[in-house]
Symmetry: C2
Subunit: 328 residues, 2 copies
C-alpha cells in the first residue's frame, strides 16, 4: 500500500514535469501545496497588541496558583510545560480532585485556532482565559477573589501597570485575560520536521512519513485537519468509543450541533496523548484507526495506520523556551 | 536601638584593633565570624554519588505528576520553583484537595539539613523522598504503582539505566529516592547578599541589615539558627499561636519531644512565607516578633524587628537555574 502510493505520487510528479526541475525533488510538490508551514506567531487582535510587558505578565499569571480557590492549581497544572502543555491524563483533574468531562487540549499553537474549547464556546484566547479560573471543576475561583489576590501583591500592581499603561486601575478581569492570551500567543511550535519539509528541506521527513502525508491527503484527513494548525476550527459530528458527550449542542441548543466538536489541532499530537474528547484513546495508532472509522467510514490497513502515525510524529515542533517565573 | 548596637559593635572592633586593618572594614568581623557562607553543594553521601545522570533523572521525577494517584500532583506542585520551591499557602494541599497539618518546607538547601521534615522523622533526602509520594494527603500513591507507571515509559527505562548502570532492574524504590535526592542536592542558593558580605564584600549589606545581623547574634537567634543553612538541625520546643501540633512526639513517643520541631533554615526565608509549622504567620515581621517571644522570652522593639527582618532579606540567594524537563 505504501509503495503503491509513493509510486503513483512520483508518477504524478513526472507527469507535471516536476522531477528533475529542482534538486532532489521528491515528486510530492502537489501534496506539499496542500499544507502550510506554521508561522512563528498567529495573527494578533487589533485590540490586544502583543507587547513584551503583557507577555511577561501573562507568563507570571499562567504559573500563578493563587488565582485558584485552593491556592495550588494554576493554568500550568493542566497545561503543563513538562507534558506538551497538556496533562497526559484522560480527563482534566482540578479543584478537590474533581475530574472534568473532557480531555485537556494543549495550549500550544492555540492562537491559531478560530474557536476555543472542544465545543468552541469561546471565539478567542481572551474570552477563553477566564473560563478555567472560574470553572468549579478546574480552579474554582470567583473572578473578584482572583483579582483581589493579585491586588495584594505590589509586584502584580507594577507589572499590570507596565502592561496596561495609562490605566488608573490596571488590575481587571479584561487585563487578566489579555495578558494570559498574549502569553499564550507566544506558545507556538514552528520548525517541526514537517515545517522544514514544507519549506524545502525534502530530507526532513522519512520515506514512511512522506507516505503518511500522502495517505493523510488521499484518505481525506486533510478535509478537516487543514491550515497551518491542521484544524479547520469547524464543528464536526463524532461519537468516539465510550463518549456520550453532546459537545456543541450544550453551547447552542441546536439539534444539528449535537455531538459536534471543533476539530483539534494535530500539531504536537505525538506528545499530547491521550486522545479524543474523552481522552479514552491512549495511542496515536488507535486514534488514527478510530478517526478512519468514525470520520471517513473506512478501516485503514495497518500499514496505512503506521504511515500516518509516522507522519503525525513529524508535527512535533520546537517547544517554547519559557522560564518559570519568580512569583511574588 | 539600632544606632546603639552599631556604635557598640564599632567600639568592639576598635578595641580589637580591627578598624583600619582592612580596607573599609565595618568593624563587625567578630559578628561575621559567627556565620558561614553557603557552599555551592552540601556534602554528598558515600553511597549516593552525585552524577549528572542521577540529577537529570531526579529533575524529571521531581516534575513527574504520574507518580501521584491523581496523575496531576508532582513534587513541584508543593515545592513550586515559581514560589521559592514551596507553595506560599499556610498548609500543604494535596490529593483531592486535602489540607495537611503543616506548612510546606522549601527544598532549597535541604541537603544542608541533618534531618528532614518539621519533625525530623527522616535523616536524609534519600529517606525523605518517598514519603510525600505515598502520604494520603499528598500524592497518595502506592510505591509499587509509582514504579510500575515509570516502567511503562521507555525513556524512564533508559534514564534509570544511565543513572544506575550495571543494575539489571534499575527502576526501584531506592533508585527513585536516590535520583530525587541527587537532584535536590543541586537546589542550593549560594551568593546571597549575606554570603557576599561574609566573603568580604562589606557593602553587600545595608547598614540596617548589618544592624539586624548584630541584633540576630546579640539576641540569641543564632543559638539555633546557625551554620551554613542557619539551622542547627536540632529539635526545640515551641508552640506558636494556634498550633496544637505535638511535633517530634509523634515520631519518638518521648514526652520530652512533645511540641519539639527541627529548626527550619532561614535561607530564603523572605520568599518562603507564610511561616511556622502551621503556616499561620503571614509576615516576616510577625515571625520575628513571635520567635522573640516564644524562643527568647523577650518582646523585641519595633526597630529591632525591622532590623532583623532587613537582615533576613539578605539571605535570599540566587535561585537554581533549572529547566522544566520534557517528560515522556
Amino acid at each position: 500500500m505504501r509503495k503503491r502510493l509513493l509510486v503513483s505520487a512520483i508518477a504524478l510528479g513526472s507527469t507535471l514535469g516536476l522531477v528533475g526541475t529542482a534538486l532532489a525533488d521528491d515528486g510530492l510538490a502537489d501534496y506539499r501545496d496542500r499544507f502550510e508551514p506554521l508561522p512563528h506567531l498567529p495573527s494578533i487582535p487589533a485590540d490586544n497588541s502583543l507587547t513584551k510587558e503583557k507577555v511577561r505578565l501573562g507568563n507570571m499569571l499562567f504559573f500563578e496558583p493563587r488565582i485558584s480557590a485552593s491556592g495550588v492549581i494554576s493554568c500550568a497544572t493542566c497545561h503543563n510545560p513538562a507534558l506538551g502543555w497538556s496533562d497526559r491524563i484522560p480527563r482534566a483533574t482540578g479543584h478537590d480532585g474533581q475530574i472534568g468531562k473532557r480531555n485537556t487540549p494543549t495550549v500550544l499553537n492555540a492562537g491559531f485556532l478560530e474557536s476555543q474549547f472542544w465545543d468552541g464556546r469561546e471565539p478567542d484566547l481572551e474570552s477563553q482565559a477566564l473560563g478555567p479560573i472560574q470553572a468549579d471543576v478546574e480552579m474554582a475561583m470567583d473572578l473578584e477573589g482572583a483579582l483581589s489576590r493579585l491586588e495584594g501583591f505590589e509586584l502584580y500592581q507594577r507589572r499590570f501597570a507596565e502592561a496596561f499603561p495609562g490605566d488608573p486601575a490596571p488590575i481587571s478581569a479584561d487585563h487578566l485575560a489579555e495578558a494570559l492570551a498574549s502569553f499564550q500567543r507566544t506558545l507556538n511550535t514552528p520548525d517541526s520536521p514537517f515545517d522544514r519539509y514544507l519549506r524545502g528541506d525534502l530530507e526532513a521527513l522519512s520515506e514512511q512519513q512522506k507516505a503518511g502525508m500522502v495517505a493523510f491527503v488521499d484518505s481525506g484527513c486533510i478535509a478537516c485537519h487543514r491550515g497551518a494548525n491542521l484544524s479547520d476550527s469547524q464543528f464536526h459530528r463524532i461519537q468516539v468509543p465510550g463518549s456520550t458527550d453532546v459537545g456543541r449542542f450544550d453551547v447552542t441548543g441546536e439539534e444539528s450541533d449535537r455531538h459536534r466538536f471543533r476539530t483539534p489541532t494535530l500539531r504536537n499530537v505525538a506528545v499530547t496523548y491521550p486522545y479524543m474528547n474523552n481522552g479514552a484513546t491512549e495511542t496515536l495508532e488507535e486514534a488514527v484507526a478510530i478517526m478512519g472509522q468514525e470520520m471517513l467510514g473506512r478501516d485503514f490497513e495497518q500499514a496505512t495506520i503506521d504511515d500516518i502515525t509516522a507522519f503525525l510524529h513529524s508535527l512535533t515542533g520546537e517547544m517554547p523556551d519559557i522560564e518559570v517565573p519568580a512569583l511574588p
